[in-house]
Subunit: 224 residues, 2 copies
């Protein structure tokens, strides 16, 4: 609605940073919603209201644009939704629990599941091009490392001695990624809670009866 209906023929303002950000915004959203191959640069040009010349001035090829999305947006998303909250939590296990619940709550509120940005692109692109694969693998590695480091920090404070940091981190990232896959396919975020409960099975001080299954087929898979 808030489009700028200002093709005023007399004036133009160069805003390279804003232009670049606008393209990245649209590309991030489109790659997430429809995937890389299903998003044409014509679509992106129209959605961002940007000319072909402008787009190719900032991103020479579609691959370069995707690499920028991965390096600047996907990595930031993992940092924001996972790494920072876990590091800020009282413990690794507490942080993991909080993130699972926060994501589940957010998905249930917004009514549909788009999936994990990292996993979506990782599946489509990691076999397509080595550059894509390296970039995506680095994000996965940083994600796991942050969780493992947090576990080690806990252990140096005397807590959670029996946990292997690397294994805990691998299982956490895998469980979240896989749960998001299922949640996206079923359009039901409930599986996130199931996985979290399974993950916390061995933790102490865990009472309460089994919260029964929820089944919610969500109504609006995408906004036009």
């Amino acid at each position: 609605m808030t489009v700028q209906p200002k093709p005023r023929p007399g004036k133009r303002i160069n805003d390279p940073e804003g232009m670049r950000k606008k393209v990245l915004d649209v590309a991030e959203d489109a790659f997430q919603a429809r995937g890389y191959h299903a998003s044409s640069i014509g679509d992106l040009m129209a959605a961002a209201d940007v000319s072909g010349g402008a787009l190719h001035h900032h991103f020479a090829t579609k691959k370069a644009l995707a690499l920028a999305v991965i390096d600047e947006r996907v990595a930031a998303a993992v940092e924001e939704t996972w790494i920072a909250p876990v590091l800020a939590a009282a413990s690794a296990r507490e942080g993991v629990r909080a993130v699972f619940e926060a994501v589940a709550a957010e998905l249930e509120q917004q009514g549909f599941v788009r999936g994990c940005p990292l996993n979506n692109l990782a599946h489509e692109l990691s076999l397509a091009d080595p550059d894509f694969r390296i970039a995506l693998a680095g994000i996965f590695a940083g994600w796991r490392r942050a969780i493992a480091d947090k576990v080690r920090a806990d252990q140096q404070a005397g807590r959670d001695e029996g946990t292997d940091p690397e294994r805990f981190a691998a299982l956490t990232v895998a469980a979240y990624s896989g749960a998001m896959s299922m949640a996206k396919t079923a359009q039901d975020a409930g599986v996130l809670r199931d996985c979290l409960a399974g993950l916390e099975r061995s933790a102490p001080s865990q009472g309460g009866s089994v919260a029964r299954r929820r089944n919610r087929i969500l109504p609006r898979p995408r906004t036009p």
Copy 2:
């Protein structure tokens, strides 16, 4: 090498079932290796050595072909590598462990990781089309149900009382799916063993020291 150099102009043999199977074989492989959108029907025609008329006689559209791959091949792959082995195992936990180890060993032997067929297509297609999503969600559901049923069978035999069947199944499928995502992206199957170890953390009678990390960047990502 074993191509049939027999374009003998005088003869032709109709083999509709063989033709259909040949197309499905090639499509299954291509969708797995390069994805749905990155595999053109021209590629498939060339790889299967099949004319456009023949292909479209058996599969009216590319979508119909993909649905056939999902229904007949992806579902069968899940049945073969997961459901049947778990049901045949001494217990659910034992079956899960065996499948993880078998898959990890197979991947390490073949030298590269293509990822889970179900997850690969689920990520690319479940938001693209409701028919795709429903078909893929059904396979996920059957997978989880089989594992949960096995846990319940164990419990009726007096074993593994403390495990919630649904949660265990969800976590198992999620951990495997996510681990395969990471293994595919890193081209390193070692994360499967890490996740299995984390999964078995709470199980009793589990001894042995920590088998240290392995890191193997695999050489040949695809065969020409």
